[in-house]
Symmetry: C2
Subunit: 277 residues, 2 copies
């Protein structure tokens, strides 16, 4: 595979010494496992070969691979999650764990100073916390299969969009006009958290894998649900206008929060609860 190829990869990754599956795109391989998630879509994964989207060891193997040959490789720790670093195992006073100090037991995963660690030992007012990556020092075994290499621009586009947007390929509507691409987003994506960052990411991806494109336009369409007959003034308006903004009663402001989508002038507002949905 050439560097920069877009492929769909089917794979199952295991920890060599325990045979634990830590990631798979094949439902069959985990169906009988306790961590099988029926809501998850097990399907081939879009990958840019040699682009650093996956572990170094896998990326390198993909560069050497071809579509017809199944890939069965072992990835040593240094090309996976790194070697274990003994200095990342620390003895820490129990009181540093705060409220949790009396609740933790061996094997618990805790967060301390923005690092995640596993409790290895508890005793005499101290705990031993291992801040190594869970899979540091482990050799991984990948069984992989390149299902398809995407050569068609349209296929690339729809896959790159759905990679970042949690929508079905069938929901992705787009149209190429010469070297300009128009992507129509469905309404259920408008209020996805971080949607603007997602759009920027999609455009970066698409320009990267289809460099011949000159521009990309996202279209978001709203339709008028109010009938023509209804007068504008009949629509209920709960706007908090310029004068009312001087209100210093925060309770009243909170009550208005729900209707703020229709209000508030040009002010750039803090993130609304609605935006999270």
């Amino acid at each position: 595979m050439e560097k920069g190829s877009l492929i769909l990869l089917d794979y199952t990754a295991k920890i060599k010494d325990t045979n634990e599956i830590f990631e798979t795109t094949r439902a069959d391989d985990v169906k009988n496992n306790p961590d099988y998630d029926p809501n998850k879509k097990y399907e081939p994964r879009l990958l840019g070969v040699g682009e650093g989207w996956v572990l170094k060891g896998l990326d390198e193997a993909l560069l050497e691979s071809s579509i017809d040959t199944p890939l069965n490789i072992e990835i040593p720790p240094e090309k996976a999650f790194g070697e274990r670093d003994p200095s990342k195992v620390r003895m820490i006073p129990l009181r540093k764990l705060g409220e949790k100090a009396n609740e933790v037991s061996i094997g618990d995963v805790i967060e301390l100073d923005d690092r995640i660690g596993i409790i290895r030992f508890i005793g005499s007012g101290r705990v031993q916390v291992d801040f190594n990556h869970k899979y540091a020092g482990r050799t991984l075994v990948y069984s992989a299969n390149i299902v398809k290499k995407l050569d068609d621009d349209n296929e690339k586009i729809s896959n790159l969009i759905s990679r970042r947007l949690p929508i079905d390929l069938t929901e992705v509507k787009y149209e190429t006009k010469e070297s300009d691409l128009e992507i129509s987003l469905p309404e259920n994506t408008f209020l996805i958290e971080g949607i603007q960052i997602i759009k920027r990411g999609i455009s970066t991806d698409i320009f990267k894998f289809i460099p011949s494109l000159k521009s990309l336009v996202f279209l978001e369409k709203y339709t008028n649900s109010v009938s023509d007959a209804e007068k504008p003034s009949e629509a209920k308006n709960t706007d908090s206008g310029p004068d009312k903004d001087t209100s210093n009663d925060k309770d009243e402001k909170d009550k208005k929060e729900d209707s703020k989508i229709e209000g508030k002038s040009t002010e750039v507002r803090p993130k609304s609860k609605k935006e999270k949905s």
Copy 2:
């Protein structure tokens, strides 16, 4: 003025008994005041007449007014910020103010239990806090002037957009195709916080004041800054791919934060710092 008219209103509002200007669109009226803000745009304000965007008293007066007659009105408290409610003045133990208990003085504005109040009295471990609206009980005097009534749809559109989006009217690009409106947003609006809510608000406004419109599309255009010659794989990719996501080293994750705009698969991400700018 008919209900539902869109007008540009020039006005200065004062508190009757103190002559204090509390809001104005006329730079001349505040030029010599200490609270004159040279960065603020003093310009006629877009108002939907009878739509509840402004204080009830002003809205009612506008319905009775015409474009040629200046408006000079007094608005009694019940049609402005309400009467003063004596029960909203409370004696509160000083300790309830927490750390600020020793710092407050009479006249200070404080926030307590999500309400804003003014300290009226301090003594013997207690403070009297007035939770009435600052202008409750006050009669307001408005001197107003309808500068223009917007009848042209294009004028309505550009004003309704710039009312919610902090951009110049001249930056607002749009095009009407029969009963469909296309609004092209400039790139500097893409990452405005709450932009999706703003767009929804703009569409609600536009459909309300131009009910003949059937649909509205927002266009956000990205241009390819990478030259065609550059190979896709040469662009630096700092993506954190599927496998790497199992990393439990949060420090490493933080380091990657800056490059996440270009990464992270289809995950709906928490709000990025970048989104706030």
